[in-house]
């Protein structure tokens, strides 16, 4: 194993070069919390960047320090897994704007010595990608073998080749979209308004006081519904009552599904900062890859040598298959090398976080093919 302090679990770096953001502001320095798994090979050609979803973090395959739960994608990332840490060097960084050690609204503003709160600049998905590219510079990785992500991680995985086409050989985009729809924005706005309606939010300046946990919990409850499917909810809960035989004719959590959602909401507030939730949902709402390229999505990938693999799930109504198909359409129009498959799962959007053998097989095969290109060269693949 390497003794290089840049590599390993629970790493943290302060990158002192300024980061110019899409919104016009400049962050004078960027803190990034990240983890690496496996070993970087001699020519630094086996690096895979994993991009996490809205409320996930850098602990992709290691125990979460607050909840004590296993890494959020351990069935995908690890020894002998499709993203095999015996063969690949895996990096996962907490996104810009988040609250697990990377720069975000809870970080200290050097100008005031106090947390930024709402003084933190609004960021975009592309800003997150730019910060990741700075991290790769720090790690000495010029080019990624692959960038992989689901949901918001998929937005980053899509933004990577559009922003740094020469720095990424392949992109795996799972259960994601090239732009937030009106419905996506609407659900996020419900969540943000729930946070902001909590009197403890105090215009974002709640650090050192009681945080707006009630509002954040409601935001999480609403969002969590969008990660599941009606069939999945029906199968798991139906109309079953929670530890009681009859309805109480009150507003206690009579139904199991109510109890489940309340638990999801409250436990979320133990590990997540309310302002970070506002900033990251905003970044997702602002995401429209076509808009960044003159309104034509295909232009985001023109002349791109990156190989793409897209996966959607048939019961995902948050980022339905039609969104992936429109990306595929654009990739075809751009002449990019693209693969796409819609997989069956009863579990809605969250299927990408579960152990789906077909998904594992597709990703394993795709990455092996990128790792070991076929013998003939100069095919433009």
């Amino acid at each position: 194993m390497t003794s290089d302090q840049r590599f390993g679990l629970q790493r943290h770096v302060r990158l002192t070069q300024p980061l110019a953001l899409d919104g016009g502001a400049v962050l004078p320095a960027v803190e990034i919390a990240y983890e690496t798994y496996g070993a970087l090979n001699a020519d630094a050609s086996n690096a895979i960047l994993i991009c996490h979803a809205l409320t996930m973090d850098q602990h992709v395959a290691s125990k979460h320090p607050i909840t004590g739960k296993p890494g959020w994608w351990e069935q995908m990332v690890g020894s002998g897994r499709p993203i095999d840490t015996d063969r690949y060097f895996v990096i996962c960084a907490n996104v810009l704007g988040s609250c697990m050690g990377s720069s975000g609204p809870a970080s200290i503003d050097p100008a005031t010595g106090a947390p930024y709160a709402m003084a933190f600049p609004v960021i975009t998905i592309r800003d997150m990608v730019r910060a990741q590219a700075m991290l790769l510079d720090h790690l000495g990785i010029a080019r990624l073998m692959a960038v992989v992500g689901g949901s918001m991680g998929g937005m980053q995985a899509l933004s990577w080749p559009a922003t740094y086409p020469e720095r990424v050989a392949s992109a795996v985009v799972i259960a994601s979209t090239a732009r937030h729809s009106a419905q996506n924005i609407a659900f996020h706005e419900v969540g943000r308004q729930a946070v902001m309606a909590d009197p403890n939010w105090r215009g974002g300046a709640y650090y050192g006081h009681t945080p707006p946990t009630a509002g954040l919990a409601v935001a999480r409850m609403a969002a969590h519904i969008t990660y599941l499917s009606e069939a999945g909810l029906t199968e798991k809960f139906g109309r079953k009552l929670q530890e009681r035989d009859t309805k109480t004719f009150g507003f206690d959590a009579d139904f199991q599904v109510e109890s489940y959602l309340r638990h999801q909401g409250i436990s979320f507030t133990d590990r997540f900062d309310a302002n970070a939730y506002l900033y990251i949902t905003r970044a997702m709402d602002y995401f429209d890859l076509a808009e960044e390229h003159g309104g034509r999505l295909a232009d985001a990938f023109k002349g791109n040598a990156t190989r793409f693999c897209l996966i959607s799930f048939d019961t995902d109504w948050l980022y339905p298959t039609a969104e992936s198909r429109s990306i595929v359409h654009a990739l075809n129009a751009a002449g990019a090398a693209a693969s796409f498959v819609e997989l069956k799962s009863p579990f809605g959007h969250d299927a990408f976080l579960l152990d789906v053998p077909e998904m594992n097989r597709v990703i394993d095969g795709f990455l092996r093919a990128v790792e070991t290109p076929s013998p003939l060269k100069g095919r433009g693949l």
Binding site: R307, C309, R325, V328, H329, N332, A333, G335, A337, A338, S339, F340, V341, E342, L343, K344, E358, R361, V362, D364, G365, F366, R368, A369, V370, T372, P373, S374, P375, L376, G378, R379, G380, L381
Partner: protein
């Protein structure tokens, strides 16, 4: 690698290093051969997710989709060849699919089982039942072949569309045979077309 006989004919007649779209590419056997042996840049369209997964695992670029609708999404002239092997008779509108192939590709390979082969004729004439043969192994109610076509039917469609036949190959018992009385004696035909 041993290819199905009609695919072997296509593989042998594709220009080296060309860009290929294989419509209904299955598990990508032809695409892999074209890539590895002819240096082609091959892309695929396939309806069955298990086949897509198998093809992607071979390092091929394959999109899950339906030829009946998704060919419309491909830009004009993006490929040197569009290939449709043993799929024409399963499409909703074979004439529309043929038009799409020659919009997307400069040339098209089309292969299909010949419904006028003597065994099929005999089966229908003497048996009075829809034929079940080696190349058409599924009963009428379950077959994906919803538009049975003969070599002469196909030639008529090609003529009606004003297309040029650049090559034609005929198979019986998996062996090449002459064009003589092909509509009676060939089990299987492969055509190379251009506008």
């Amino acid at each position: 690698m041993t290819l199905r006989p009609d695919l072997a004919i296509i593989a042998a007649n594709v220009a080296t290093g060309s860009r290929i779209l294989d419509v209904g590419c299955g598990d990508g056997a032809l695409m892999a051969a074209l890539r590895d042996e002819r240096g082609c840049d091959a892309r695929g369209l396939e309806i069955d997710p298990a086949n897509v997964a198998a093809a992607v695992a071979r390092g091929l670029s394959v999109i899950q989709g339906d030829a009946d609708t998704d060919l419309a999404d491909y830009p004009d002239g993006g490929f040197d060849y569009a290939i449709l092997s043993q799929t024409l008779q399963t499409t909703m509108r074979p004439d529309w699919v043929l038009d799409q192939l020659l919009r997307i590709g400069a040339r098209a390979f089309v292969s299909f089982p010949n419904f006028a082969h003597w065994r099929v004729r005999a089966s229908l004439l003497w048996g009075g039942r829809m034929p079940v043969t080696r190349l058409l192994p599924v009963a009428w109610y379950a077959t994906p072949n919803i538009h049975h076509v003969t070599i002469d039917d196909f030639r008529a469609l090609v003529a009606e569309r004003g297309l040029t036949v650049e090559g034609q190959w005929f198979l019986a018992g998996d062996k090449r045979r002459s064009a003589l009385a092909a509509n009676f004696a060939a089990e299987h035909a492969v055509f190379l077309l251009r506008k």
